[in-house]
Symmetry: C2
Subunit: 532 residues, 2 copies
């Protein structure tokens, strides 16, 4: 094809393979997410402020729990201009070692949680760096980090900017500072945002975080507050530490299996299967190899593609135990009740933690809590609080499996109101938590859970169980009210009857008292019979 | 904190800052998207097959148009097993130079389109490598690529596997082969998938691509077909080449502005503003600098953050012309009609291309086409075809601005049926296209367009214009039908009346013919008058 020597373009201004090749280049992941920031939850100023706070708090809680420290977190939001805010999140966690600080806060896709199959709030190693990047893009200001790993160590203060073109941190300031806390991390981000109360607000997020994490205390300073709000602990017990698990053979694809065989440290296929997967015993490995027509001692590193295909088919033909589910760390019924009681005062609280279950090889567990009565308005839709690995979900309610499951229940049979296709109505709040090694979010801004059939089933069962308890409470409560009413009638009129009988029968004061007592007794018994 | 020397963990099995630091590591973007593949449209086997075909076809069409070649694309889907397919997409494009082939197909975030502000189907440099990665993960098979850049050049054949851990291509095979086409590219991917007809099918996608790209011919081989289906061109005219534009000052954030000043090749702020932005004349640059209290000749590379803030405020306070919109390449009314006529036979076709408009500094343009009547069923919901930069959108219809706009129109006033909150009913298909330098998709699998108010307004206006034309047609058509009916009555009975009159009046054959002719004339005229 004829090309124009100067522009490298074909005659007529169009491109050639060569001119196109000259324009090909690598795109850094930070450039990608900077242009596509809505994918990470930075679509608009209100959501951006919430997302930044959320990412920092998620990290603080994960770090404290991993280190076995009861979390104490400070969240501060200061307003600097009409749409300019400076947020700070400070924790009493284990701190971050000096060398890691720039990468943790100034590089996307850097972290410790991505490669482990373990229940955690953070998964990707993107969140906090993305929040810092958003701050830098909108205000030009660095992320400021103070961290200390123990009272014997100095506190380090960093100002960091992400170099978006290369996805590497640029250190602007790096110094040792005086800092009172013996250990912990404080991160500050200046950003363009909007602070609002109500739905999708930081206030809502903080309150819900306190409910799902009763072992955590939060000091929360809003732009309009004079003093921080103190959300106290409802429990002094740390959640049990979630365990890391190996992949289950049923969840592994052929290409992934080939990769695992290439990279295993085991010398024999049989050992590779036992070491690198969960639920593969020596016996199961033998069955798999024999079904695949492979020697137990075959070298996994030199496995051919057709052999791997046979291995893959054999794995899926052999019966293998479901994955272990002790890797999960649910909140637990007691802790859910503690969280609900301290943040949602009501007449009745109940909670259900289902046994663990499995979807696509991933263990998960569903929990539901319910608060009823008190000062909650009786003529509005119930408040639905959604959580995944203890993190409140604030956006995309209608796209979430949790909402779909709630809509699918007939709440009228449990004593609440409900229009077709709508959330129930009544003085109630419904709390739903999904814990999993890998929560299937519908997008990476982690706002809604995908509706896998196994998850929907567990949600339904847990909601129904809470619903039945609610129905019992509402019925009993109604009965108690009725009873109270009858009792008060008796108590009101009996003295008058006593006086009348005394006059008619000419009784003494003692005789009247005795008669009245017998009368009350008889009436009470008949009332009680009438209840049955 | 006391640590256990062996595990590096704190006493009690919990973590310390040091043990956590040891587990921190970089995550490659390919690892990220491999684990989060649903974000790219590989959530389930049916969608995965469609997405892989779509990414390859998008690339083929972009390359052909950039090179000024009328596209001729072959799409082949062969079934190898119950859920195993091999897809091939071959084009007559400019080909890819040898050195670029491995990276284009074996590295995520690599491409020529991300850094240009220009209307194109592809944007991110992810799609085709992600399709190859999905194939590798599910079947262990390489992507096979054949490409030739001109008849004077050899054809190169590559087999490539992405190294997911590092996001780099691994070349398995690299050789020169005999290949008949003078130039073009063929890519083959083996993958786990499901092939189905109907909604969300590859068949639907191919047909819609042919409608929105009438200048393109497609040969389509399905697993169940004996011979390829040939979707012919409806037009021999290439769309005009979209132009690249510079960013508009109003769309730039403070942090981005600071970055641009640091990296500009201009020596003075005034020149940087004129060179690096669109719509900034020398006069506008002067106004901005003076409002910001900066010298025209200030060095942009040494601008301080507070100076940049003043510059940012000045930019947004000065009146600047809207961005140029000649960077867009709409399909055009004629071409839309050509596409609709060849793929959707009907009694009536209409199309509207709106003038360009702007959202958040990004030029965009809306087009609507409509086909009515023919063999389309009259009692079903209309067929809604959504397109962005000429690419059919197949999933997430309800979340898309296009569907929302269609639902918001009262179609009954235009002669179609419609239930509240539903798509209209009737024998019609509605075609909607949004062209933009940057289409705001709601997710990176590019399935739905975000409902920006400016976009919604343009959609509404275009839909209403087509609706009015449809209403006119339906009214005229109804009149023509009625007329036809009356006319046929006259034609049917007049001869009998003629015979009767001839007998009664004793007319000759000529006399009868003359009388009948006058009678017809009078009746026709009276019928015509009755119409008015």
């Amino acid at each position: 094809m004829a090309t124009d020597a100067q522009s490298g373009k074909a005659a007529g201004g169009r491109q050639t393979a060569e001119s196109m090749a000259a324009r090909q280049r690598e795109i850094s992941v930070s450039e990608f997410f900077s242009k596509n920031r809505h994918l990470l939850g930075f679509d608009n100023p209100q959501k951006a402020l919430l997302t930044a706070v959320k990412e920092a708090v998620d990290n603080s809680l994960d770090a404290c729990e991993e280190a076995g420290i009861l979390p104490s977190v400070r969240v501060e939001i200061r307003q600097l201009g009409e749409d300019r805010f400076r947020i700070a999140v400070e924790d009493n966690g284990p701190g971050i070692v000096k060398a890691q600080i720039p990468k943790v806060f100034g590089k996307l896709l850097y972290g410790s949680k991505f490669h482990t199959r373990k229940q955690a709030r953070g998964q990707q190693g993107i969140g906090i760096s993305a929040a810092g990047m958003y701050g830098l893009l909108t205000t030009g200001k660095s992320v400021a980090v103070t961290s200390r790993t123990g009272s014997g160590h100095p506190a380090h203060y960093y100002e960091i900017q992400i170099d978006t073109r290369k996805n590497v941190p640029q250190v602007i300031t790096d110094k040792v500072v005086e800092w009172a806390p013996p250990h912990g991390t404080r991160v500050e981000i200046e950003l363009t945002g909007t602070y609002k109360k109500g739905r999708h607000s930081v206030d809502d997020y903080v309150r819900q975080t306190a409910i799902a994490n009763p072992h955590c205390e939060i000091f929360f300073t809003t732009p309009d507050a004079e003093a921080p709000l103190h959300l106290r602990r409802g429990s002094e017990t740390l959640p049990p530490e979630p365990k890391e698990i190996k992949p289950h053979p049923y969840g592994v694809e052929l290409g992934v299996l080939i990769g695992m065989m290439k990279e295993t440290s085991a010398k024999h296929i049989s050992l590779a299967l036992q070491n690198d997967f969960s639920r593969v015993s020596a016996r199961v490995a033998e069955d798999i190899c024999s079904a695949a027509g492979l020697s137990l001692k075959a070298n996994p590193h030199s496995i051919a593609v057709n052999e791997a295909e046979r291995l893959f088919k054999a794995i899926n033909a052999i019966k293998i135990m479901s994955p272990a589910t002790n890797c999960l760390s649910p909140i637990g019924e007691e802790q859910i009740l503690a969280g609900l009681r301290k943040e949602i005062p009501a007449d009745f609280h109940t909670a259900v933690t289902r046994a663990p279950s499995v979807y696509r090889g991933n263990p998960f567990q569903v929990e539901v809590g319910l608060a009823y009565g008190g000062d909650m308005p009786g003529d509005e839709l119930v408040d639905l609080l959604r959580f995944a690995n203890r993190v409140p979900l604030q956006y995309q309610q209608s796209a979430c499996a949790i909402s779909k499951a709630v809509l699918g229940i007939d709440w009228r049979s449990y004593g609440l109101g409900q229009s077709k296709g709508a959330l129930p109505t009544g003085p109630a709040a419904i709390f739903v938590h999904i814990a999993s090694v890998w929560v299937p979010f519908t997008s990476e801004s982690k706002e809604a859970v995908a509706a896998y059939p196994e998850i929907m089933k567990e949600l339904r069962l847990a909601l129904q169980e809470c619903g039945r308890k609610l129905a019992t409470h509402i019925r009993a409560h109604r009965r108690a009210l009725d009873e109270e009413k009858k009792k008060s009638y008796i108590e009101k009129y009996i003295p008058h009857i006593g006086i009348a009988l005394r006059e008619i029968l000419g009784l003494s004061a003692e005789g009247e008292a005795e008669l009245v007592a017998r009368l009350v007794d008889v009436l009470e018994r008949s009332r009680a019979r009438g209840e049955k």
